[in-house]
Amino acid sequence: MTLADAQPQALNFECETGNYHTFCPISCVAWLYQKIEDSFFLVIGTKTCGYFLQNAMGVMIFAEPRYAMAELEEGDISAQLNDYNELKRLCEQIKRDRNPSVIVFIGTCTTEIIKMDLEGLAPKLESEIGIPIVVARANGLDYAFTQGEDTVLAAMAQRCPTQAPTAEADKEERNAIQKLMNFGRKQEDVKREESEYVDHPPLVMFGSVPDPIVTQLSLELKHQGIKVSGWLPAKRYTELPVIEEGYYVSGVNPFLSRTATTLMRRRKTKLIGSPFPIGPDGTRAWVEKICSVFNIEPKGLEEREAKIWQSVEDYLQLIRGKSVFFMGDNLLEISLARFLIRCGMTCHEIGIPYMDKRYQAAELDFLVKTCQEMGVPVPTIVEKPDNYNQLQRIHELKPDLVITGMAHANPLEARGISTKWSVEFTFAQIHGFGNTRDILELVTRPLRRNGALKDLGWEKLVEEARV
């Protein structure tokens, strides 16, 4: 091997105008209120925010959601009304009607512009109404789409208990009684349970994923003898994990850089920087990295990954050699591109709203490595893309698949370019070994549709001049 070959091909980063389509970060309430079952999300904003949630979240609004708008009126903007009194009135109403364990205030563009001091108001309100109030500024001035979850989790990270002495003592007590009752039989069980795990410092995962994913990823680590002591967020606000200084933390999603920073700086934890468990390659790299931190020799991963690849061969045949273009709107792009390149696709451009090169460092290295191993060129990463320019490039490159927001999907399809709606990746279960097929199901859907409709002769449904 020559020296030149060993030189990794460097990633090419570009930054455009930021004129792109994405969802407002307040959309995170739609999945977080479902994840955190005893929460209530109050979005403090205008009709514009409300109309977005109502339309983008579709039918969910009818299920009596645990979220609402505190709709600002002209009197609020011009400070004729007192913010504190207004919020107190609404919080009391929420407490009366729903009695949640936590109220999350979502700050919006408007509260930023009028400089409403939510962080200052919250502690006072909290002590007055007796419900914790968490403030997250998930606004469109600063963040894109999934970053909304990042702001909420960063705020929640501060609320995780430092230690749970009372609960611990409680358990001891109960154990003592149990010991008496069971004549020590139970203790054997407990011991056996504990012995399934290697002795390692506590590990807390962060990132909101559906409960089945929590189970699957926890089991994955359990196979290696690693115990997940808690998950941020948990199913209930009252079950937020204990985080003590020196704990290890690991993120499961690429858009959680603020949460990671908060956990490291404010909670003094150690971050395990790894690729994200998306795709079998990502999942394996993620497990391996965690194992390496705890000095564990991972077992059975290679066979496991190979088996998964084998089981999706029918889908891989559909996409091998095809090209994909990410317009960029949800920050999952790097991981998904890395997975699809491993599947045998080529990728020219990865658009992404925001690129945290430190938090995603391991994922970026993995992307370069994957490109080398698959013998394909390294894609260009376009931060803050410009959708207009991207459309010019798409019409020039004619990729086999464009992963894009709904604003561009139908117009591209009408011009004969296959698309996959990017938001589906946010809501589908895409983590872990077991969900590989689910990602490929999404990615291959337009291609399978093309197969079903081929020979009909109506791929292009606009006149040439309008392209």
């Binding site: 792109y20 009709k47 109309y51 977005f52 469109g140 894109a144 189970t215 604003a407």
Partner: protein, 508 residues
């Protein structure tokens, strides 16, 4: 501050964008933060639009907050002008720009110096008007802009067409069945021997606007959009307008008679009576339906109506006057135009409700227990919860309210469609009721479909919990696959781990 879960009418900028993107070759630039361009998603999704929605954002971010937009808005306008050569760029303020109070008019003037197309600022205040009012205002503003421009350039066309002609106002993108209504109105006008001079804004070019005064009159089928433009043209050119919504047999006749009067006042000498009679009795099925025994069965049945002014008023009149249905309550969310609505429906219903609080309407429906509801998608969901059928008659609407098939609400074909909608809502309700009384279609006990009825396998607590998280429609399949997997491997206790191992093994 107001605690709100749902809203009937959207924010002001949506109205402006609906008008701008209805025109051909008009581009809207929103002065808004990232993520406020979900209008493009709505249009692309609901209307299944093939073309890129001509709306972009001049993004307001931290830098703009700190230093003002400076060159950014002007640059974005001139860039779009060069890229797509639109005839007009409408700079659209949002709630954010309302508070920032930047001098957007100044940006427009500066951009106009460089841009080849026209540039204007939509004059709407987020905190004062809603979507519908903003749409009405923006349409009037654009019409006025091009009339003034033509006047200045001396190419305004004011002489009337030879034959009677009409401008139809208020057809917009994302409007409830607007595209079908436009087709139906064109057909009606052609049946009446009236030329259509322009349909505004849907599909119109701004260049057509200078010829608006050629028409003999303006037709404004919807109460919410177009009235301001029609009033403006009346003031400027003394053009009469007809604002009777031709929805339902009686109102369609009233609209046509009004058109007749307007045309005859200008010397047309037309008589539409025989046309109305022919259509009413023999072409449209609605009048005959009202005499048929089906409709007799609906007599005195109770209904609640809620929607925008146009559709709620029209439906109330149709139900009460044309079908003998007892309208317990008619309501609108167009609070700003309350007086008109009350005047329209008062004699056709027991009670009037004017509110934009969906809880209040839901409570009224629960209290009144009508046999059918005619409302928006929100009322449809209320109906689902209360087991009352609902016909959707107004926005806010979902994708299923943008049918591909021909479904107008106005004119004679529209009255046929409305008959179907009403009749289907009531019969479904009755059928349901009868089924309940007689205990379902098939009163025999349903035999269990499970393959492994009594299983020798044990589901552990966590396994069962995990199984229950799997969506209901595939749970049976997952259960069977897992049990098969366990049996093949002599596993007797099924845990969550076994469940996922099985899932991986079958690759599903």
């Amino acid at each position: 501050m107001k605690l709100a879960y749902w809203m009937y009418a959207g924010p002001a900028h949506i109205g402006t964008l609906r008008i701008a993107s209805s025109f051909k070759n008009v581009h809207a630039i929103m002065h808004a933060p990232l993520g406020d361009d979900y209008f493009n998603v709505m249009r692309s999704m609901l209307e299944r639009e093939r073309d890129y929605t001509p709306v972009t954002t001049s993004v307001v971010d931290r830098h703009v907050l700190a230093r003002g937009s400076q060159e950014k808005v002007v640059d974005n306008i001139t860039r779009k002008d060069a890229e797509e050569h639109p005839d007009l760029i409408v700079l659209t303020p949002t709630c954010t720009s309302s508070i920032l109070q930047e001098d957007l008019q100044n940006f427009v003037e500066r951009a106009q110096l460089e841009a080849k197309g026209d540039v204007m600022l939509a004059d709407v205040n987020h905190y004062r008007v809603n979507e519908l009012q903003a749409a009405d205002r923006t349409l009037q503003q654009i019409v006025q802009f091009y009339i003034a421009k033509a006047r200045k350039q001396g190419n305004l066309v004011t002489e009337k067409t030879e034959k009677p002609s009409v401008n139809i106002f208020g057809m917009t993108t994302l409007g409830f069945h607007n595209n079908h209504d436009a087709t139906e109105l064109k057909r009606l006008m052609s049946d009446l021997g009236i030329e259509v001079n322009a349909i505004v804004p849907a599909g119109a070019s701004v260049h057509e606007l200078k010829s608006l005064p050629r028409a003999w009159f303006n037709l404004v089928p919807y109460r919410e959009t177009g009235l301001m433009a029609a009033e403006y043209l009346q003031q400027e050119f003394n053009m009469p307008y007809v604002d009777i919504t031709p929805m339902g047999i009686v109102e369609t006749a009233r609209c046509i008679r009004k058109i007749q009067q307007v045309l005859n006042a200008q010397g047309a000498n037309v008589d539409y009576e025989s046309f109305i009679d022919q259509q009413t009795r023999f072409v449209s099925q609605a009048a005959w339906f009202s005499r048929s025994i089906d409709c007799q069965n609906l007599t005195g049945k109770k209904a609640v109506v809620f929607g925008d002014n146009t559709h709620a008023a029209a439906l109330t009149k149709i139900l009460s006057r044309e079908m003998g249905i007892h309208v317990l309550l008619a309501g609108t969310y167009c609070k700003y135009d309350e007086a008109w609505f009350r005047e329209q429906v008062s004699e056709y219903c027991d009670d009037v409700l004017v509110s934009d609080d969906n809880g209040q309407i839901a409570d009224a429906i629960a209290r009144l227990e009508p046999a059918a509801i005619f409302g928006t998608q929100m009322e449809r969901h209320v109906g689902k919860r209360l087991d009352i059928p609902c016909g959707v008659i107004a926005a806010p609407i979902h994708i299923q309210n943008f049918p591909v098939g021909y479904k107008p609400f106005v004119g004679y074909e529209g009255s046929n469609q409305i008959v179907d909608l009403i009749y289907n809502s009531f019969t479904l309700g009755m059928e349901d009721h009868l089924l309940e009384i007689f205990g379902g279609h098939d009163t025999k006990e349903v035999i269990t479909k499970s393959v492994s009825a009594d299983s020798d396998l044990n589901w552990s607590k966590d396994g069962l919990a995990e199984l229950n998280r799997i969506p209901g429609f595939v749970r049976g399949k997952v259960k069977r696959n897992t049990e098969k997997f366990a049996r093949d491997r002599n596993i007797t206790q099924i845990t969550a781990e076994v469940l996922y191992a099985a899932k991986e093994a079958v690759g599903a």
